[in-house]
Homo-oligomer: 124 residues x 2
DNA sequence: TCCATCTACAACCATTTGGTTGTACGTTAA
DNA sequence: TTAACGTACAACCAAATGGTTGTAGATGGA
């Protein structure tokens, strides 16, 4: 996960992903598109590869780069979880406001720092 | 975007996001949950804040942290675009496979988007 | 063969990152 | 007021990042 998001946290690398989604490209062809050395682009591709975001395939002396949609989907899925959790929280909150005056739900967020009345929504 | 994905590229920060999705937490309470100093957690929160992933709200001497679902959605949406582009490519490719008997590998990696014979051997 | 191309990798450098400690300041409670 | 709590911020440090150049190994074509 760390490697995945780290790989996405760079404009050049995201651009490489976009280019290699449209079709395989050799590292040299990719390097021509950026104002940096071949070695730098090579490193970016390595970062993407170690994150599982792209795969490489040999063709003669070239190395063709292609982005792996499954890995992209993995990142998307992780963010979906966050959103879902947030929505569940809002739903629970709405339910409480509409129905229950003060019963705390079983959901205990942390172990130690209890204080289960974590000031939900109460703007002050 | 760089800041957004960079903020997500750390286990501690993603955990902070998950905790603060379930309800607001002060920085001190957050810090209790991790084996690092208060200042370190404070820095993580700052990174999340500058990426727009969380917002802070004062309550007396505390600073309550809460994750902003809109920003999370922004990241998810960006990844969706990548996936969509990939799917469009596959559709185009499938169409060609169904239609074209077996064109010789002209293999002109020119400027990409115009060339319709992208990546002759996709799965080999 | 010889040469150009494509790739891999090491060494190096400046900057950033993730962590620490220490200090200072505002707020709450005794 | 004084003490404890929560926060902010600076200074510092080791390690990782993003970039460079240089060298060397394969591969393809004349």
């Amino acid at each position: 996960m760390d490697r995945l998001f780290h790989a996405l946290a760079d404009t050049t690398r995201r651009d490489i992903l976009r280019r290699c989604v449209r079709g395989e490209l050799s590292v040299s062809r990719l390097a021509e598109a950026y104002p940096m050395s071949f070695a730098a682009v090579q490193k970016h591709v390595t970062v993407l590869e170690r994150a599982g975001l792209v795969t490489k395939r040999r063709r003669g002396r070239e190395q063709l780069v292609r982005t792996d949609p499954d890995a992209v989907d993995g990142a998307r899925r992780a963010l979906d979880e966050l959103e879902t959790a947030w929505r569940a929280r809002v739903d629970r909150m709405s339910g409480l406001l509409a129905d229950d005056p003060g019963t705390g739900p079983g959901t205990d967020p942390g172990a130690g720092p209890g204080t289960r009345e974590t000031t939900e929504g109460q703007d002050r």
